[in-house]
């Protein structure tokens, strides 16, 4: 959280920096444009002033040329002097036009120029007058005019004006040259600043990029570290689970060994009791008499029952300790095996076992055999007194929503129904308790372990078993086994 805040602050700082630099650059661009505009304006002014100076000078020269021509002609009467005179006169007109077309930026220069032009015009009039007089041989009058200094005065004025104008234009030119130099200097500075700020900006961006890369590298390293931690935690857990599962296996093995040895060692004295009872019976039959023989028979019976009990206990414990891995188990073939196992009993009481088409399921085959053997032999054992036993075994596949798994679960539902003596519904749960019986020994044989073994097997497969019955109307046993056996159990362990 803090990291993000820091990152946010850094971003703001950088944003600020970049915006400042951008402003400077924009400002610089602005100044540069101004500079260039100033430069071109100054350049234009200089061009203008040069043009004007040149035009005025040319006009001046033309006037001088005209004057010297006129003078010459007046003094010498030589036609040669008229040539430059006429040239100049011709030019002066166009030059005058040219000058008046031009425009000076200097204050009052326009008036001065206008005045000059007027003077020039007056001069030309004077010149033309004198020449015309001279041409008409009126030299005397011409010379008069000449000597009246009119022309000379005019010229002097012209010259003064010209000088004045030119001086002013020159000053203008000089000032504009220095302005030019100034602008050039400013331009250098401006471009220098732009260059520097551009460089700074580039440097700034470079540094920012470097920083980001570094941050990214740091984050990546952190992520990798977390991944490693996670991976090592997973490995640790897996190791723990493996150890636990190994421990369970070992515990099961020990239990099995204990159960086997215990049952074996418990059976041995029973055998002795039975064997010596036999000896007594055969060796001392006469001495024992009826009562004695009866007692011995009961002793043997008791020993046998104890032996059966021990065997059943061992069988009960073996549901867990000797449980095998689940494989594809065809219930049809299992039921067929059971029918042949119980063939004698079935034929004896004319029993009918009707089986529906059973599925192939994931289960421990020997335990499935035991489960159905127990149920079917019970059905045969507890048959009705005057009716041939009929046993129906049906199958249905059912889907239900399970809260525990938050999804649909599919079940194999197998029912075993008989038409035997049934039992009162209040005992529906009790019958599954180990060694619980509903009848005396003399009525029906058995230790009462069969159904508890069935329940243990079914629960090992992740399923359930329930019984429904009415006394005198047969019993129905409903077995539910999950289709997806792995969902409910560890592989083969319970």
């Amino acid at each position: 959280m803090i990291k993000r805040k820091q990152q946010g602050k850094a971003n703001v700082v950088w944003a600020l920096f970049i915006s400042i630099v951008l402003c400077i650059i924009v400002g610089n661009a602005f100044l540069a444009i101004n500079t260039i505009q100033g430069l071109s304006r100054t350049q234009q002014s200089l061009d203008n002033t040069n043009m004007l100076s040149t035009a005025i000078e040319q006009l001046h020269l033309s006037v001088v040329q005209a004057e010297s021509g006129q003078r010459g002609y007046l003094l010498t009467q030589a036609d040669d002097y008229l040539v430059p005179y006429y040239d100049a006169i011709a030019q002066i007109e166009s030059q005058t036009n040219h000058v008046s077309d031009l425009h000076s930026e200097i204050d009052g220069q326009a008036q001065r120029i206008a005045q000059l032009l007027l003077l020039v015009e007056a001069k030309i009039v004077e010149l033309k007058k004198t020449v015309k007089l001279a041409l008409n041989d009126k030299e005397q009058r011409a010379l008069l005019i000449l000597n009246s200094h009119e022309g000379r005065d005019l010229y002097r004025e012209i010259r003064e004006r010209v000088n004045d104008i030119q001086e002013r234009e020159l000053l203008f030119k000089v000032s504009h040259f220095s302005k030019l130099a100034q602008i050039k200097k400013e331009a250098k500075i401006t471009f220098g600043i732009t260059a520097v700020t551009s460089a700074l900006l580039i440097l700034g961006m470079f540094l920012l990029a470097r920083l980001n890369l570094k941050n990214a590298a740091v984050y990546r390293a952190e992520l990798e570290m977390q991944n490693e931690t996670l991976a090592s935690k997973v490995t640790e857990r897996t190791q723990e689970l493996t150890l636990y599962s190994d421990e369970l296996s070992r515990s099961n093995r020990e239990l099995e060994e204990f159960a086997f040895v215990a049952s074996h060692d418990l059976q041995e004295p029973l055998r002795k009791i039975q064997a010596f009872s036999d000896r007594l019976e055969s060796m001392f039959k006469d001495e024992l008499g009826e009562k004695g023989t009866d007692y011995i028979a009961r002793m043997k019976n008791a020993a046998q029952r104890m032996s059966n009990l021990i065997n059943d206990l061992l069988e009960f414990s073996r549901v867990t300790t000797r449980g095998k891995d689940f494989t594809d188990t065809d219930l049809n073939s299992i039921l067929n095996d059971i029918k042949s196992d119980l063939e004698i009993a079935i034929n004896e009481c004319n029993a009918q076992i009707v089986t529906a088409n059973m599925p192939v399921i994931q289960a421990d085959p020997s335990q499935m055999h035991q489960l159905f053997l127990n149920l079917i032999s019970n059905a045969v054992k507890f048959r009705g007194p005057n009716v041939d036993p009929v046993i129906n075994i049906d199958f249905e596949r059912v889907s239900e929503f399970s809260e525990d798994h938050n999804s649909e679960i599919s079940w194999h539902v197998i029912t075993v129904r008989d038409n035997g003596i049934g039992f009162s519904d209040e005992y529906a749960d009790k019958i599954f308790v180990p060694f619980q019986r509903l009848h005396g020994r003399s009525q029906y044989k058995g230790t009462g372990i069969g159904l508890s073994v069935c329940r243990r097997i079914v629960e090992r497969h992740g399923g359930s078993i329930a019984a429904i019955s009415t006394l005198g109307e047969g019993a129905t046993f409903i077995i539910k086994l999950p289709v997806d056996a792995e969902l409910f159990t560890l592989k083969g362990e319970a």
């Binding site: 074996h264 055998r271 064997a275 055969s282």
Partner: protein
């Protein structure tokens, strides 16, 4: 095989259980098998008897058996060890050994035969069964089976 040439061979039984020894003796008597039955209580005694050591030095009380009935689970030295020792002994390895035990374990059977036992028999549960066994053993080993005469030294 002519029944008249029945030679009473000595049967030596090694079993730690007193009751089993008694029952076997009675069963043998019941079966009318004419054989002397000697007993030892564990593997150590068995070897002492066969080698005529310790309290069995006297040949008259320790005649060489034609058949040994061997229990597997005995203290001090069990049947498996004793069997191994007997079959390794140059003079004794020729004596047929029939394992007579309560154990139904597959691995005991395999080990027994591998070590050289002639047969492996699980003790009958009933006395009648024991009598029947003795009769059969007697008939088989005495009437049908040939044993070298140098055995009876």
């Amino acid at each position: 095989m002519p029944l008249t040439t029945v030679k009473p061979i000595t049967i030596l039984m090694a079993d730690d259980d007193e009751d089993d020894r008694l029952l076997t003796q009675d069963a043998l008597a019941e079966s009318r098998v004419l054989n002397e039955l000697h007993f030892v209580e564990d593997g150590v005694e068995l070897l002492e008897y066969l080698e005529r050591k310790g309290k069995f030095e006297d040949k008259s009380i320790s005649p060489r058996p034609g058949l040994i009935l061997l229990d597997l689970n005995m203290p001090r030295m069990d049947g498996r060890e004793a069997l191994q020792a007997i079959k390794a002994h140059p003079n004794l390895k020729g004596i047929p050994v029939v394992i007579l035990t309560t154990s139904k374990q597959e691995e005991d059977m395999v080990k027994g035969y591998n070590l050289g036992a002639a047969s492996y028999i699980t003790k009958p549960v009933t006395f009648d069964g024991l009598v029947e066994l003795m009769k059969t053993l007697g008939k088989y080993w005495v009437e049908f089976v040939e044993l070298p005469s140098t055995f009876n030294d």
